[in-house]
Subunit: 205 residues, 2 copies
DNA sequence: GCTTTTACAATGCAGCCGCAATGTAAAAGC
DNA sequence: GCTTTTACATTGCGGCTGCATTGTAAAAGC
C-alpha cells in the first residue's frame, strides 16, 4: 500500500490541520501532536512528511499565502473580462478583509504568522516579492481609474497603492480585534477609494 | 529588608524584561524562567509578583498600551500649545510608526500581542475603548484641518479617521516586515494626509 | 521471489514548561 | 522581644515539547 502517495497532498492535509489549530488557539498551540490529532493521523506521520517543525511552519506559511492569493484571483475572475478598475480594486480588497468566519479564521492565522515572521526575518523575505507584485498591480489599476479625473486631482498612483494596501491591512486587523463593525470598515474603505479614484460613476451607456 | 517594596515598580521591571524577550524571540519564547533571567532575578520572584503567567501577560499588555500612549502624548506636547491640526496628526501617527530600533522593538511586541489577543477575545476587550478614544480625537483634528477647504472637498471626518488609523497600522506592519523602506511609508502617509486635509499650507503671516 | 524502498506507527528521551510547596530571612506590629 | 507578615529563593512534580530511534508491513524494482 505505501509508495504511491502524493506528498504534496499529504503535506497540504497536515498544513490545513495546522491552520485550524492556529486559528483557534494561536500558533503557540501548534505542536506535532496537536496538529496530528487535528488531522486525525499519527504524530509519526507528521514527522514523516516534515522532518522538523520549522519545515512544517514554513510550508504552512506558504499555504496561507497561496490561500489568500487564490481567493483574490477567484473574486477578480468572477467580475468578468473587463471590470471597471475601481470595481476590481474594491472587490479584491474586500475579499481580503475578515468579513465572514472563514476569512476571520484565515486572518487570525495570517496575523499569527505576521508576528511569527517578525522575529524570523529570514522566513519573511519570501513575502516581500508578493507584496511588491500586489502593489504594482494596485498602482496600475489606480492609474486606470484616475484616467477620467482632471489631472490636478490625481494622486501619485504608487503612493496611493501603498496607502491603499496599508488601509486594507489595518482595517483587517481592527476588524479581527473587533474594534468596530464591518460596516465601519467598509465605509472607510469606500471613502478612501473615493479619494483616490474619484466617486463612483454610473457606467450605463 | 522586605516589606517596603513598590509592587507596581517590580511588576513594571518584570514586564520590561518580558517585552525585551518578546521583542527578540516572540511571545512564545516568554516563560517564567526566561523573563526572570532577562530581568536578572530568580524565577521565584516573578512568581511572587504574578501568581499566574496569564496575569503577567495581561499586565504586560497594559504596559505596552501605556508605552505607546505616553509616546504619542509626549510627542504631541512637544509641539507646543496650538499646533496646526495636520501637523499634530502627522506627528502623532509618525510617532507610532516603527522607524527606529526602539519603536521597532515596541512594534514587534505590539504585533505579538495583537495575535495573542486575537485568540483570547476577553483580553482584547480592554483595547477597544482606547481605539474609540483615539478615533474620536483623530476625527476632531481632521475636522479642524478641513476648516479651510471648500465644503465639497471635505471628507466625512469619522470615516477618514478610521481610514487614517488603519493606514498607520498597516504601514507599521509592512515596515516591521521590511516590505518597503521608511521613506515609502512616510510618502504614502503624507499623500494620504494631503487627501484628507488638503496639501500643506505655509502658515507664516 | 527476493531485495530495496517507501510509508507509516510506536516508543523513548532529554529538556523545558507552569505551578505548587517549602524554606528562610528580615522588617513591621504589638 | 516576640509574633506575624512580607519578600523572596529553592526544589520538585507532572505534563508537554521536538526529535531520534526502531519496528513493521506493503508496494516497486529487478
Amino acid at each position: 500500500m505505501p509508495k504511491r502517495v502524493d506528498h504534496g497532498e499529504r503535506r497540504a492535509l497536515i498544513a490545513d490541520a495546522l491552520m485550524r489549530v492556529a486559528a483557534e488557539h494561536g500558533l503557540e498551540a501548534v505542536s506535532l501532536r496537536h496538529v496530528a490529532a487535528e488531522a486525525g493521523v499519527s504524530p509519526g506521520m507528521v514527522q514523516h512528511y516534515f522532518r522538523t517543525k520549522d519545515e512544517m511552519m514554513t510550508f504552512a506559511l506558504a499555504v496561507v499565502r497561496e490561500h489568500s492569493e487564490a481567493r483574490v484571483t477567484r473574486a477578480a475572475a468572477a467580475l468578468g473580462d473587463h471590470p471597471a478598475p475601481r470595481t476590481l480594486l474594491r472587490t479584491m480588497l474586500v475579499e481580503l478583509l475578515p468579513l465572514d468566519e472563514a476569512r476571520r479564521a484565515d486572518g487570525r492565522v495570517a496575523l499569527a504568522f505576521l508576528a511569527y515572521t517578525a522575529v524570523r526575518p529570514s522566513v519573511a523575505a519570501a513575502l516581500h516579492q508578493g507584496t511588491a507584485a500586489l502593489l504594482d498591480f494596485l498602482a496600475r489599476q489606480i492609474r486606470a481609474a484616475q484616467a477620467t479625473r482632471p489631472i490636478d486631482q490625481r494622486v501619485d498612483p504608487d503612493r496611493a497603492a501603498v496607502g491603499l494596501l496599508a488601509v486594507m491591512e489595518g482595517l483587517g486587523i481592527y476588524l479581527l480585534g473587533g474594534h468596530y463593525p464591518a460596516e465601519t470598515a467598509l465605509a472607510a474603505l469606500d471613502s478612501h477609494l473615493d479619494l483616490i479614484c474619484g466617486p463612483v460613476v454610473d457606467e450605463a451607456p
